[in-house]
Symmetry: C2
Subunit: 432 residues, 2 copies
């Protein structure tokens, strides 16, 4: 029996803005960062979780983690996992702290760090990677992790049980297949806005040589430069590989439509975050207008919670559902969104990159395939080649696919030396 | 020429949970609180603003205010007011801090405290209450305060200019009228969930005697108790006064419909926050289903930003638009929502109560009448009789109407002795 006895939170920042890695139309200088949580216990186990941030403000998320501390200290792991939805509801529905959200922004980011650390702890206690822990749950155990509040108009507990039950027969085969082949991925490391042509070409060529079949570029600052970058990347990757574009929320609705239509000649699979992440009806309007171009609409990395995803699906606003492992309130809410997306037949292509997101989301997509959607159609996990060196069990890709992780836990644990170097503001990367 | 030279933020909490004031279906023990900002300048002027919170977590909002400090220190007031939209965009679109929102949760609450303090400062510099400062702006000056980003599919700068221009002729008359008569209000002090019958009856009777014509009750814990409270209040206030009900987000969509239908016999004007504040499509479904009962749908106190309000209006999801003075990112965004609501013909009935919200929103409704909507139809400002004693210029009601404030500023300034007593955790209300 494990009892959670301590919580430590670390403000961790990598100085990535020095190289323009991650530059896009609205985030011009991200320092890939995390509010990083370590849960200690009365035994040897520790749980590690984090929320991804991009520099300034990480200290605010750390303060929110501290504000949630009383929900986790003294808790028995067995009690949490016996009714994980109740634990999640207690954290997200704190009668005073919920005023700061509810279920959005800083308090929800902090929730994710803690909740994901609990999942890491549970998986380590079971000696399994998180994806395998979830895949081995019965349908009843799976749904006991989900707070169905505000979802019952489109998805009830019984609906979810029926969906999960229907996929039980093929589980073992899908697990064997995905362990053997890995999970399809796409790469975002070549098309950052700040990169010059020669660098874009070189990165594309190297990625093609490494077996990548899908590429994403950033757009939204300048129409000519976007067309140029699309042409260069299409030329390098050839006509048959996937190319996607990401506008990072820069446009109003009508501008999103006209700008994207201008890129229709480059065979884009999707336009990502074409407008405000809160604008469900705007995304729906953009999707309708772009239908003749064959370009789909993708969003989700800034989608605040399951209620917003519910509406994106109800309104037929998206072709691709890009869940984020820590924008949502941790894995429990991610599982709810996987079910919603499967119910609406929309493929989940998780947001990744940054610091540690690739490590998280590989678990999400692998378990989605094995027990929730049962499909790889139109599905890819994002990959960016940054910051993996800081993790004890870094995500691995081979031939353009994620290698299924095998270490127990949620792959969230950072190396002690990285925690020291990236500690803000006193680590060696920042001091002086 | 005034330069902002300092920012101090105070964690201020009133121990209101000790009396059950403010208890509702999901906020069982609110301690009315504020992240309270004082801007100092190179002259004698100071600007005061705050964000309302309900206890725990106020320190997180204070941390977010500190994170935004660099956007306001060293700024010339004249530069801000010459292009207030640009200042607002700089604060809300900080290339790293926006990751914590954007435009929602803790970082947006913190934005409101700072932005409202700048408005207070500007109004004091002009020697006017905020409502009068705004009412005296030209249409061009008014729209220069608004960031139209993400709104242009329903409201452009030119649309706004035309709307404001069309109301110019009657401005002086409406100002004279509202100064003379005050602004209609409703009262929420009688129907809290925690109050026993005799207290509810006594508070209703006293309010009727004081001239109140509109009353709000809390619902959502227990159907029988809600029907009982509605019957008691309807009996006390008679058939002709307005009665509204507030569920504070407690229901799923179908439960909201059936529960509210069960209250149809009590002549409710609206059901407020029937479900998740993020569920635009859910509110629209509830509104359609309740149409035969004559009960309208109201929401807004947890509506995160102008994009969410835009959709509530586009989807015909609300009959009443309940803006909050500091849930939105300060008065600039409130002005945008007033324009949106007027464009869709939906009355604005601001959320108030708590600590200082009444003081803020009286300005909003008065200026809405004079320059934006030009109408009082279906419009009322919430009033609750708590915590006014802490303000230098407290909101005043007479005969069920707000008395138009006349002191320069945004009525946000708290008494020094209150700041001292309510300071958390070391003030006299909290120490020991």
């Amino acid at each position: 029996m494990t009892i959670i006895t301590g919580l430590a939170v670390h403000d961790v920042r990598a100085p990535t803005s020095r190289t323009l890695a991650g530059s896009d139309a609205v985030h011009s200088d991200p320092d890939y960062s995390a509010a990083y949580v370590v849960l200690s216990t009365d035994g040897d186990l520790t749980g590690h979780g984090f929320t991804f941030t991009i520099g300034r403000g990480t200290e605010v998320v750390c303060a929110a983690v501290e504000a949630l501390r009383h929900h986790v200290i003294g808790v028995r792991l067995d009690d949490v996992t016996a009714d994980f939805a109740a634990f999640w509801r207690a954290v997200t529905n704190d009668s005073q702290l919920r005023w700061l959200g509810p279920d959005k922004g800083v308090i929800h980011l902090a929730t994710a760090a803690i909740v994901n650390a609990v999942w890491d702890l549970w998986a380590k206690a079971e000696g399994k990677p998180v994806w395998k822990l979830v895949a081995d749950l019965t349908p009843e155990e799976f749904v006991s992790c989900i707070d169905f509040r505000y979802l019952s108009d489109v998805l009830t507990r019984d609906d979810a049980l029926a969906m999960l039950g229907a996929l039980e027969p093929g589980k073992a085969d899908r697990e064997a297949e995905i362990r053997r082949d890995g999970y399809p991925a796409y790469i975002t490391s070549a098309g950052w806005l700040g990169y010059p042509e020669e660098k874009v070409r070189r990165l594309c060529r190297e990625a093609v040589d490494d077996g990548w079949n899908a590429f994403k570029m950033k757009v939204g600052i300048d129409r000519e430069s976007d067309a140029w970058r699309a042409a260069v990347m299409r030329e390098e990757i050839g006509p048959d590989r996937d190319l996607m574009a990401d506008a990072n929320q820069v446009w109003d609705v009508s501008e999103a439509i006209s700008w994207t239509e201008g890129l229709a000649g480059y065979g884009l699979r999707w336009i990502e975050e074409p407008t405000s992440p809160d604008d469900v009806l705007g995304h729906a309007a953009i999707r309708r207008a772009l239908a003749p171009t064959g370009i789909g609409v993708a969003t989700g990395e800034h989608c605040a919670n399951r209620v917003m995803f519910k509406q994106l699906l109800q309104a037929e606003a998206i072709d691709y559902c890009q869940v984020d492992a820590c924008r949502l309130g941790g894995l429990n809410e991610v599982l709810a969104v996987l079910l919603l997306a499967a119910r609406f037949g929309v493929p989940v292509c998780p947001h990744a990159g940054g610091l540690g997101l690739c490590e998280y989301v590989q678990h999400i997509s692998v378990l989605d395939y094995i027990v929730v959607s049962g499909s790889l159609d139109g599905r890819m996990v994002e990959f960016a080649d940054h910051c993996h060196e800081h993790f004890v069990h870094p995500a691995q890709v081979r031939g353009g696919r994620y290698v299924v992780p095998t270490a127990p836990g949620y792959s969230a644990e950072m190396k002690p030396e990285s925690l020291g170097a990236l500690a803000y503001p006193r680590g060696s990367e920042w001091a002086g």
